[in-house]
């Protein structure tokens, strides 16, 4: 049971994000960390490989400047190895271009299952995983809240508007997992030490046979025309509760005829 997990290394979401005024690309210069959303996929992959009685978890990531700190976090959790695609020509690559890069890298790992988050925390386009599935000719099941492997198929509980669907798919397949489905483990000290020497293969777009016109700003075929401040909402009345705060809420709801 070999599982590939797509992981994104993102700027710390706690720090205020910014656009580069020249290119309007998201600034991704500082230290990058493992996207929290991806920790669920990593945990799920480790549990599935365990339950299957063996197999490897391989991470695949695209990031600027040979960034590996987020990958080391996931390796410390227990993933066996990583493929990192890092290359100056990739700056400004959009979701479809990213999918082309990741799909080419995933193909090399020949996985039984590809896991990803439903969307990243910073860009939240939410299309890259299924684009990867289409590029690789794989079936996909998105928004999984439970994943189980039985023989050569995967059984998924897929979130729906009304509840959930039970979905079955033959392997290999791609599954995206929602946050909170499993409890991501904290890397142990031993895991952190071991992660330092786990293999990270670093590739360029050219290594994957991708033409420069398919990636980067050139491949994006979409442009930002304007960035403007949104209309600010005026602040209202703030009161400190001294035991009577709930009455203010009641009064407000009465005024709106909600009560």
């Amino acid at each position: 049971m070999n599982v590939v997990v797509c992981v994104k290394q993102i700027p710390d979401p706690a720090a205020p994000p910014a656009l580069d005024p020249g290119t309007n690309n998201l600034v991704r210069e500082g230290k990058l960390i493992l996207d929290d959303s991806d920790s669920y996929g990593v945990e799920m992959a480790l549990q599935l490989a365990d339950a299957a009685g063996g197999g490897e978890v391989t991470l695949v990531s695209m990031a600027p400047n040979g960034e590996t700190s987020g990958l080391r976090t996931a390796l410390a959790m227990g993933a066996a190895k990583a493929i990192l695609i890092s290359d100056d020509t990739l700056a400004g690559t959009d979701a479809l271009g990213t999918a082309k890069v990741l799909a080419a890298a995933i193909k090399r790992a020949e996985p039984d299952l590809v896991l990803a988050a439903t969307e990243s925390t910073d860009g939240y386009t939410g299309t890259t995983p299924v684009q990867i599935a289409e590029l690789l000719g794989l079936p996909s099941v998105t928004f999984a809240k439970k994943v189980e492997i039985t023989g050569d198929s995967v059984k998924v509980e897929r979130q729906t508007e009304a509840g959930y669907d039970e979905v079955e798919s033959p392997l290999p397949a791609l599954v995206t997992v929602t946050a909170g489905v499993v409890e991501p483990r904290y890397p142990s000290f031993k895991g952190i030490m071991a992660a330092k020497s786990k293999p990270v293969e670093t590739l360029t777009a050219a290594d994957l046979g991708l033409d420069a016109s398919q990636v980067g700003n050139a491949g994006a075929r979409q442009e930002i025309t304007q960035v403007a401040d949104a209309e600010a909402r005026s602040a209202g009345e703030i009161v400190t509760d001294e035991g009577e705060g709930y009455q203010r809420v009641i009064g407000f709801l009465e005024q709106l005829k909600v009560l």
């Binding site: 979701a95 995983p129 794989l138 508007e161 509840g163 509760d241 709106l256 909600v258």
Partner: protein, 323 residues
Amino acid sequence: MSVDKIWVLAEVADGAPITTSLELISQARSLAGTVEAVTWGDATASVAGTLGDYGVTTVHDVGDLAGALPGAPVAAAIAAAVAQGGGPDAILFPATYDGRDIAARLSVRLDRPVLTNVVGLTAGDGGLVTEHAIFGGSQMLSARFTGEGPGIYVVRAKSFAAEPSGGAEAAVVAAPAPDTGATNGARIVARHVEERIGPKLDEADVVVSGGRGLGEKDNYALIEELAALLRGAAGASRAIVDAGWVPYSHQVGQTGKTVKPTVYLACGISGATQHLVGMKNSKNIVAINKDQDAPIFSVADLGIVGDVHKVLPQLIEAIKARG
């Protein structure tokens, strides 16, 4: 590139087109001369009347999928129709579970990128111009496609008003999916409907949401109780969804639902940008949080600096006492 024809993905639930699809059709009428729809399922004939009433002239019907997930077959059917010629200049998808899947697969089939999280669409010189709320809605970004081929747009709910135009019933034409091989391997084997008391989160007049300030999972019952008393829906911040307290379907925010209720009560929610983008356009916002510097207070019409563990039970008792 002028925009003459727009297709809208008309997703059907409970025998009727979903509201977001009707919102997109309504907006498409103001952007292009011809608006057509793409739909699938076993009840497509019954929606042609409603779709026509909103201005759709032709419905491209992929037909029943026999338990397959719609991503692969519907994308393939749209791509096949585009290849035949006479296709659209733009295709609008509602930002739903299935809408995103179909848009993503279509993007690869047409080798065209997707613009997602669209909250505004206007006609510009070079085709459609999109608007996206970024950084918690503090800034609006405008974008457009370059290059040849139809634009693929995934639009968030409640970006536009749904308004019928009184059109005649739409013509239904078959748009069967070609064989999609292994990509179409997933099958729905059972459906589970979770019992919901009260209105849907994104349609409710009142939304009561809880966040990490609730302290522990069991306290979410206070949110549900207050929501029920106000005949509203219970929502959640991403933090407590990630923590596994409540299912993803309750999440309000950038990666969850967009809500615009008459009143939104944020309880124990700090107001991370992730959350604000999903609720800041509510008509009225009440926030209860013990940290007076919490960003949620910057958008609140009424802010109570206090402990949700005290204020919520008092509020619930007082409303109950009114009978």
